[in-house]
């Protein structure tokens, strides 16, 4: 059965899609905040921690800085992978049910 716009918006499937999208987006944004601001606040409050040596000269701050950049990319990749596996499948299923 084809659904009107209103019926689609009120359907449990659509509501689940919207809440699922924002849950993923919120969780990943919070993780991003923790990673980035964790790094920045660490610099502000505890410079000696990042200045400690992990090699003869190399400081711990160097791999952590690179790690923040890699983490940002990994979070992006997690979102895309979720969107491709879950979101797109669900979207195309629901689109087929909407009255054109």
């Amino acid at each position: 059965m084809q659904k009107s716009t209103h019926e689609m918006l009120e359907s449990p499937e659509f509501k689940k899609l919207v809440s699922g999208t924002w849950t993923i987006a919120t969780v990943l944004t919070i993780v991003l905040f923790i990673v980035y601001y964790g790094y920045i606040i660490l610099i502000a409050v505890n410079k000696p921690f990042l200045a400690q040596k992990i090699g003869v000269y190399t400081t711990l701050g160097i791999p952590i800085g690179v790690g923040v950049i890699i983490a940002a990319w990994v979070l992006t990749a997690i979102y895309v992978s979720w969107a491709n596996r879950v979101l797109d499948v669900e979207v195309s299923r629901l689109v087929a049910e909407v009255q054109k």
């Binding site: 716009t5 918006l9 990943l28 920045i40 200045a51 000269y57 160097i62 950049i69 990319w73 895309v80």
Partner: protein, 515 residues
């Protein structure tokens, strides 16, 4: 201290590479011009750009000369603090993906104002959004044009005035004749050259240190002291300043018109997401390797030589190229830096022109009733206006300290454009009055606060103490834009906006009716 360098003189290799790049990009423009007839082609490259192409073009738009020469210079002069600065420039990209990439693509047509105005009253929202958008683009353009003039003067020895005119004329040809198709391909060429050039530079540094970064750090420590590898106070002085700057960098990206505009060049939301993943990868890679270039320059060129040429350290990467690869490689890197400036200014001009023509002329003056032919004509006239404005501003601000301008552009973007954009997507009760109030509050407050902050009040205007203590106002101005937008929306309901929220929602999440 001064050593012999070919920098600042137009060497044969620099001129050859420069003309090769300009010839290639003009050939692309010629090809693109034959494919640019409709507004959809002029503003959005016919929505036929692939995810990989758009990923490269997004990186091209974002990686300005400031990221390349500026961050390499910061690392060369201030060591680890330059690295901290680099990380901040990437974190906006995941946020862009999570919060607005999909809805932005599904709801809009050519500009982000399409999204904000989707179910609100066109005239007031379009005017407000155009003010926010144009202000952001103009401030960013001033930073780019002044930077361009100074860099070209330093690298090629061309006088400032001619440098501005050359940049203005070449980029105007791209945008005017080739529209978004040419601009996209110019960005792709530039991104590939920049990523390739910096990769070669990085490999040359690493080969010099036995392919072992630890040996590079050892050399840095021995020459400059261990402090160069430790966090200092150049970027992060206190938590509040750092958090506010972080907010501006993170959410400013979500309000940059020339970046947001790129989302309409791809066929659908899925391609938009994939393009952000590519862009995040390219830009992340760039920010990971650029500190190696900076550290390499501080050891192999030396801080004295770098600051001898230019106090800001901008010349560290070109000087390193000369030490490692001789004059021909210096010529190549200088030409790449020039292409970087051209491409970024072209992207900004197209974004500024689209706000003038699509948002103000077509949707406000003509109330949406303009023929295809008229729209393209107005878009081209706007491009010329914006191009002339860019050169004029570049000349006007020649002697000014514009280092704060990029930070200001991000502050305005995250305060004026981003809150209204996000609220229009997620909040049913958001009203026309709320949107206008939020945009104007964000724009006015971010500009006003930065003027009375240490950034301008002390550093530029040379007053003793700042009235507003935080260097980047984002934490206050962005919060205020959200609060004002919410309060004004709650004051009076807008039934028509609430009624069309259902259609908007269907389009936001399912892409039904998306263009």
């Amino acid at each position: 201290m001064q050593t012999a360098t070919a920098l600042g003189t137009p060497t044969p290799s620099a001129i050859t590479f420069f003309f090769l790049i300009v010839a290639l990009t003009l050939a692309i423009t010629y090809w693109a011009a034959k494919r640019t007839h409709s507004t959809k082609e002029f503003y959005a490259a016919g929505r036929t750009v692939s995810a990989l192409q758009n990923g490269l073009a997004l990186s091209g738009d974002y990686m300005s000369a400031a990221s390349f020469l500026g961050i390499a210079g910061m690392v060369a002069l201030y060591g680890y603090d330059g690295m901290i600065y680099a990380t901040g420039w990437l974190v906006g990209w995941p946020a862009l993906m999570f919060l607005i990439a999909g809805p932005l693509r599904n709801l809009g047509k050519y500009t982000f104002a399409d999204v904000v105005a989707f179910r609100l009253h066109q005239t007031p929202v379009r005017i407000a959004a155009a003010i926010g958008g144009i202000l952001t683009v103009l401030i960013y353009t001033i930073a780019q044009m002044v930077g361009a003039g100074l860099l070209i003067k330093l690298m090629f020895g061309i006088p400032y005035l001619y440098a501005e005119l050359v940049v203005g004329a070449v980029m105007l040809v791209y945008v005017l004749f080739g529209g978004m198709i040419a601009t996209t391909w110019v960005q792709i060429v530039k991104a590939v050259l920049l990523l390739g050039g910096v990769t070669v530079l990085t490999l040359m540094v690493l080969s010099h240190f036995g392919w072992n970064p630890a040996e590079l750090y050892a050399a840095v420590s021995q020459k400059l002291g261990q402090k160069a590898l430790e966090p200092g106070t150049k970027v992060v002085t206190n938590s509040l300043d750092a958090i506010s700057l972080g907010l501006a960098l993170m959410f400013g990206l979500l309000g940059l018109p020339h970046i947001l505009m790129r989302f309409y060049t791809v066929p659908d939301a899925k391609a938009a997401r994939t393009s952000v993943l590519y862009a995040t990868g390219f830009i992340g890679y760039f920010y990971i390797i650029i500190p190696i270039v900076g550290f390499g320059a501080s050891v192999l060129v030396g801080r004295g030589v770098i600051t001898g040429l230019d106090k800001s350290g901008n010349m560290s990467a070109p000087l390193l190229a000369e030490v490692l690869g001789g004059t021909p490689f210096l010529g190549f890197i200088a030409a790449v830096a020039f292409a970087t400036i051209l491409a970024v200014v072209a992207g900004l001009t197209l974004a500024g022109a689209s706000a003038l023509s699509h948002d103000l002329y077509v949707n406000v003056v003509k109330k949406g009733a303009a023929t295809e032919q008229e729209q393209v004509r107005v878009a081209k006239i706007s491009t010329v206006i914006f191009g002339i404005l860019a050169v004029a501003l570049g000349l006007l601000f020649e002697k000014q300290n514009v280092a704060f301008m990029v930070g200001l552009a991000f502050a305005v973007a995250c305060s004026a454009n981003f809150p209204a954009l996000l609220m229009s997507i997620v909040w049913k009760r958001f009203t026309t009055a709320g949107a206008v109030a939020s945009i104007l509050t964000g724009a006015a407050l971010s500009v006003f606060l930065i003027i009375i902050s240490p950034t301008v009040w002390v550093d530029v205007l040379k007053n003793k103490a700042a009235i507003f203590p935080i260097k980047n106002p984002a934490i206050v101005s962005m919060t205020a834009a959200f609060v004002i937008g919410i309060l004004v929306s709650l004051l009076a309901r807008e039934p028509s906006a609430e009624a069309s929220f259902e259609d908007e929602k269907l389009r936001t999440y399912l892409g039904v009716g998306a263009e």
